[in-house]
């Protein structure tokens, strides 16, 4: 079984939901990323989404756009992001790590070369914001042949027929973007999320995690009650930005939020 499937099995055995955490590789400095990944796992994160810095992060709100800019200042790109995963794997061979970002750096590296490099580093899958299943067929083949999971997204605007098609293509888990908007958008409508996730569950082929608008223990717990997991990104990246000059405090603040969310989610499952 893959690390992602193992992870969801372990969570189910423990009657827990997945806490998926997102940070941008190299934000605010390349040295902090791997220790921060270990911190988050120690605080209760189940899966790490590592953002791959890109010049044009067109689906991100202002907070994560700035994180990409901070990382790019240190020339953190796809190649050294993958190297960070290899470094993380020296101590953690269990926690799934998926790369999240945009297709062009992978296009430039070449699909086969990317899949081979990512797999050898211990990457488990990708979430590519600007690649719908229609455009992902060739890359999927390269990834699957290396044991990597192409993870696709669902949106509030996705109709049922399309959602069924997406579930035929997605592997590992599926990411439901709960809000129409960019990352960091507010207005989480828990009733709407409950209704949509329940409908997806009738034909889902993978666990469904929910992202966008989850910023604290309370919202994470609400999401955990109705889905297989909650994704937190902008709230973590905001803490990183606020503590950019103080790496010790930065790591503490991120760990505290992850631990709060884990506790709140465990209290309701």
């Amino acid at each position: 079984m893959s690390r992602i499937a193992d992870c969801f099995q372990r969570l189910a055995d423990n009657r827990q939901k997945a806490l998926v955490v997102y940070v941008v590789a190299g934000d605010p400095t390349p040295a902090i990323t791997v220790p921060l990944m270990h911190d988050m796992v120690a605080s209760g994160a189940s899966i790490i989404e590592l953002g791959v810095p890109f010049t044009d992060p067109e689906a991100e709100g202002p907070v994560i756009q700035l994180a990409h800019e901070r990382a790019m200042r240190h020339r953190v790109i796809l190649r050294n992001t993958i190297a960070m995963v290899a470094s993380f794997r020296e101590q953690d061979t269990v926690t799934p790590v998926v790369l999240m970002g945009y297709i062009n750096p992978i296009e430039a590296m070449g699909y086969e070369a990317f899949a081979a490099l990512a797999a050898s580093a211990g990457v488990d899958g990708t979430i590519l914001v600007n690649v719908p299943p229609e455009e992902g067929r060739v890359l999927d083949q390269a990834m699957i042949s290396q044991g990597l999971d192409p993870i696709y997204l669902l949106a509030p605007t996705t109709p049922e027929a399309r959602a069924r098609m997406i579930f035929e293509r997605t592997r590992g888990f599926t990411y439901y973007v709960s809000v129409k908007g960019t990352t960091g958008a507010g207005n989480l409508d828990i009733d709407e999320v409950t209704r949509r996730v329940a409908a997806f569950k009738a034909y889902a082929t993978t666990p469904i995690v929910v992202g966008f608008g989850i910023k604290d223990g309370e919202s994470a717990a609400q999401i955990a009650r109705v889905s297989d997991g909650a994704v937190v990104g902008t709230a973590l990246v905001s803490l990183i930005a606020a503590n950019e000059q103080d790496p010790v405090r930065l790591r503490e603040a991120v760990s505290e939020l992850v631990a709060d969310m884990r506790a709140a989610m465990d209290a309701v499952s």
Partner: protein
């Protein structure tokens, strides 16, 4: 037996030829691909909106009422057809082929951009969207979008890079006069590319009530197709005007290429006319060798940005490079996917002209013809002037004079050291 083989060969080659011919104008395919280019590289939130737009457009492009409204406004509001004007003194100066100017600069709002905006505002109206958004570089597409929004009673917001706002101030004020909200974009390179990303962000947030008027033949499918179709009125007119005035086809068509909408608009109706050279002119900025330019077809590699696969200015790691051109409207790292495809199949040629050459052509057209071209259009003109000198006097070049240069007066005055305050 030999004759049969020859017949088969000839028939096959005719079919092949017919097949290729057909392929030139039936592009893109159903999913919006021009060969390997184009497509829909967007977030899942937008996939349904793009499918609705594609469906609405495929229906409306054959709808009599829609087409009647479109052509009515092109005639009575935009002022079409635009003239095909013989630049006699410029031709004499260059001493070669006849230089004909397709006068899109005479359109309402001063550029070809309005053709597409009329079409898309009508789409917004037919689709029941009360709000439109647009991105703009030089401000011409922003002005055209704000104009049609006023004309059709739609709410309008325009995203514009803060660097472009500084260098195109007359158009910024003009958009405000038209009732549009102009939002400065301070992320990334603060130019057209970043304005487009910000407009995409607005669209994902407000997709239910908002129509996104993309200004060029780029972005996700169906935009490259529908913008081309709305702009192809330029080429349809130019073709008929040339036949009427000369009884023959032009030998070459020259147009500047940023995203490539004015070029695609004039090229498209000539795609089947294989003897007509189609030449797109990219901005070489300070020179291709300096890296400070915006000429992806001349120097770029294939990549994916802002909804489509195309030639892209990027480094070896797939990060998008900053671009430079004196012309804000050409200052973009990508290019429409149909141009990428026409380059690969060699149906169109793409060249580059630097700032200096464009400025020279800009001044020449003022002095010799009394026409103030946009700096964008001056790039096409500069190449056409040099090309004319190498051709014979009975040959014809049509230059798409895509816009007028009133908006560039502050830039030009600054270059000449003149204060306008």
């Amino acid at each position: 037996m030999t004759s049969t083989v020859e017949d088969d060969g000839q028939a096959a080659s005719e079919v092949r030829a017919a097949g290729i011919n057909e392929a030139l104008t039936v592009m893109p395919d159903e999913k919006g691909h021009f060969g390997p280019y184009g497509g829909q590289f967007v977030s899942e939130i937008l996939m349904t909106a793009l499918a609705e737009l594609d469906q609405a457009y495929r229906h409306l492009k054959n709808d009599k009422n829609f087409l009647a409204e479109f052509h009515h406004d092109l005639e009575h509001y935009v002022g079409r057809p635009s003239p095909l004007y013989f630049a006699e003194r410029l031709t004499k100066q260059m001493g070669g082929a006849r230089i004909m100017l397709k006068r899109e600069d005479l359109n309402h709002t001063g550029a070809h951009k309005i053709n597409n905006c009329i079409g898309q505002a009508l789409l917004a109206k037919y689709m029941g969207k009360p709000r439109v958004i647009a991105e703009t570089g030089a401000g011409q597409h922003g002005v055209a979008s704000a104009t049609v929004a006023a004309r059709f009673g739609l709410k309008c917001r325009v995203y514009m890079g803060s660097d472009d706002i500084a260098r195109q101030s007359p158009n910024v004020y003009r958009m405000k006069l038209l009732g549009a909200e102009v939002v400065p974009v301070t992320s990334g390179s603060r130019t057209l590319k970043d304005a487009l990303s910000e407009a995409m962000r607005d669209w994902v947030t407000n997709v239910d009530d908002t129509y996104y008027i993309i200004g060029t033949v780029a972005g996700p499918h169906p935009y490259p197709m529908l913008v081309r179709d709305f702009q192809s009125v330029i080429g349809i007119e130019a073709r008929a005007q040339c036949l009427k005035q000369f009884g023959t086809m032009p030998d070459a068509i020259v147009a500047c290429v940023g995203g490539g909408s004015n070029a695609m608009g004039i090229f498209y109706p000539f795609l089947e006319d294989r003897d007509v050279r189609l030449i797109g002119v990219e901005p070489a900025g300070h020179g291709l060798e300096t890296g400070q330019h915006a000429a992806p077809l001349s120097t770029g590699k294939i990549g994916i940005l802002q909804g489509n696969r195309t030639y892209l200015m990027q480094d070896s790691d797939g990060q998008v490079l900053d671009t430079y051109s004196i012309s804000a409207g050409l200052d973009y790292p990508g290019v429409g996917p149909e141009h990428a495809w026409l380059k690969d199949i060699k149906r169109a040629e793409y060249v580059a002209v630097d700032d200096k050459q464009a400025l020279h052509a800009f001044r020449q057209l003022n002095r010799l013809e009394g026409i103030l071209p946009a700096l964008e259009s001056a790039h096409g003109l500069a190449y056409a002037m040099d090309l004319a000198a190498t051709m014979s006097k009975d040959e014809i070049i049509i230059v798409n004079l895509s816009g007028r240069g009133d908006k560039d007066i502050p830039t030009m005055a600054k270059i000449d050291g003149i204060s306008l305050d």
